[in-house]
Symmetry: C2
Subunit: 303 residues, 2 copies
């Protein structure tokens, strides 16, 4: 059980680091490189998904699962699946036809390290593997739970979620969006997968609607706060700190929270969202302290 | 029940056309275009998956499902999921970084009709949607069956299957493969999804291993025969007939069954594979006539 996952009172930075370590270990086992000609695509998949990173989404899966006492190995497989989908989206978003980024997480992007074709395939392979992991009996004894996870991830990652959000983001390079459209874009592009991460534990535990919806509410506010913080980092951070090029949004003439609201109001808005996010957790009383700290972290992080 | 799907004694061309019509109707319903900014990616998904085509894989799903009396609407959802994965693979394979094709199924490829970024996203969206369709309760009442379908599709489509096969295919442009490596490539690149198509009905029916493995054997031989026929069409067909550029393999200096064996021996090998494929169906006695005809069709088709 995940009661043994983190000791009572573990600090957020410790829990986050531990989540990353455990998730990477599972990812490493799930994504072995075969001694065959196609090894190259497996190497690219590992390069992308095991790149240095905070593993915030796996942390959210584990912290959510912990609220319901979900078995540790089940939660870790869901966490690994979410990170695969996140990594795939970064690999495809970085492609020359999309954001054309050379740098990601402080290293060459996947298509710069390998080549464009391999990067496309590595993304495809990661996305596919995520669904295979969730559907496998090791993820949960009850196949109805596994189907719920697959269906929820497909909704979060697909054209009604992440893929649709990225489509709008591309359109935003040619068309000025208002704040409502940008909020919808971000809810789809980053919010949907963050929401799935927060809800996965509730799905694994077959939790009732109440706590599940509370986690979704938390995730929605957290996702937007996260995005505003990202926009602020892009506008004000340095490439050394963030590990990726900065100023890309302004250079692309893209409307962001920061360009519309200005840095100060954007920062206030993010702080408000974090307070809202945390309020959703009242239901869990003292047991959700790590999620509360995570919400505060997303707007204070420098990378 | 699919007993009412096709009347006793329906001819293969009629059944194939009917499978295409029914699958397209289901695809059309599953892939509605929302009245929102992201509509473009939905349009590209429909453009790719509803392009004119034989719909051989959906036919295989339906013909396989019919052997076990699987409910028609279940089989059709599995057929639609398979066609989504097939269409996604074509969209990504056609990209400039991959095969750089301008023509597919007689029309501009997805990235030529839309743009490269939209095509990448449309492929991602189709792949994701396929898993969502399979995991949905409408596909089968038993979630264990749905998980089996998701897991089997993930294996067939992922880095151990289709994605890995495409990786080897890219390597084959720079490295001469022998006939063993080419056979493995083709088993992964096209064979795995054809095998899934043939087995889906057995999974939906919770059929015992015997018939399931017979269908897999059939599919493996069929898949290779299909590929050899494809190579022959690429070497000898015309763009008008095939709806895509021909001579691409030779131009890329790629080893194929035809370049290694010569056209005549390749043709003989395909015919042998078809006889082998059909022999696997003896188990089903007179009930598998449509699958027998399908095997003969793949080596006589001109498109």
């Amino acid at each position: 059980m995940t009661d043994s996952l983190w000791r009572e009172g573990i600090s957020f930075p410790e829990a986050l680091a531990h989540a990353a370590e455990m998730t990477d270990a599972v990812l490493g086992r799930l994504l072995a490189v075969p001694p065959d000609l196609e090894a190259r695509v497996h190497q690219a998949m590992r390069y992308a998904v095991l790149a240095p990173g905070k593993r915030l989404r796996p942390f959210l899966v584990l912290a959510g699962a912990r609220l319901f006492g979900v078995a540790r190995h089940c939660a870790l497989r869901a966490a690994a699946a979410v990170e695969m989908v996140h990594a795939y989206s970064l690999v495809h978003d970085d492609l020359p036809a999309m954001d054309d980024s050379d740098l990601r997480r402080g290293r060459p992007t996947c298509h710069r390290m390998f080549d464009e074709a391999t990067a496309i395939l590595a993304g495809d392979g990661l996305l596919t593997a995520a669904f295979g992991v969730l559907a496998h009996p090791d993820t949960h004894a009850d196949p109805a739970v596994r189907c719920d996870l697959v269906a929820a991830l497909a909704t979060a990652a697909g054209a009604a979620g992440m893929v649709g959000g990225q489509m709008i983001d591309l359109i935003a390079e040619k068309q000025v969006l208002d704040i409502g459209a940008i909020t919808r874009l971000q809810r789809m592009k980053t919010g949907a997968l963050i929401a799935f991460s927060c809800e996965a534990g509730a799905l694994l535990a077959k939790a009732p609607n109440g706590p599940r919806l509370a986690l979704r509410g938390y995730a929605h506010d957290l996702g937007l706060a996260f995005q505003i913080a990202d926009d602020l980092l892009d506008a004000e951070g340095s490439a050394v700190e963030t590990g990726k090029p900065v100023g890309a949004d302004a250079a692309a003439g893209k409307a962001t929270y920061v360009s519309i609201l200005g840095a100060e109001r954007a920062r206030a808005q993010a702080a408000l969202l974090v307070r809202q996010a945390v309020a959703h957790l009242d239901l869990f009383e003292g047991r959700a302290e790590l999620l509360r700290e995570a919400a505060r972290f997303v707007i204070t992080r420098r990378t």
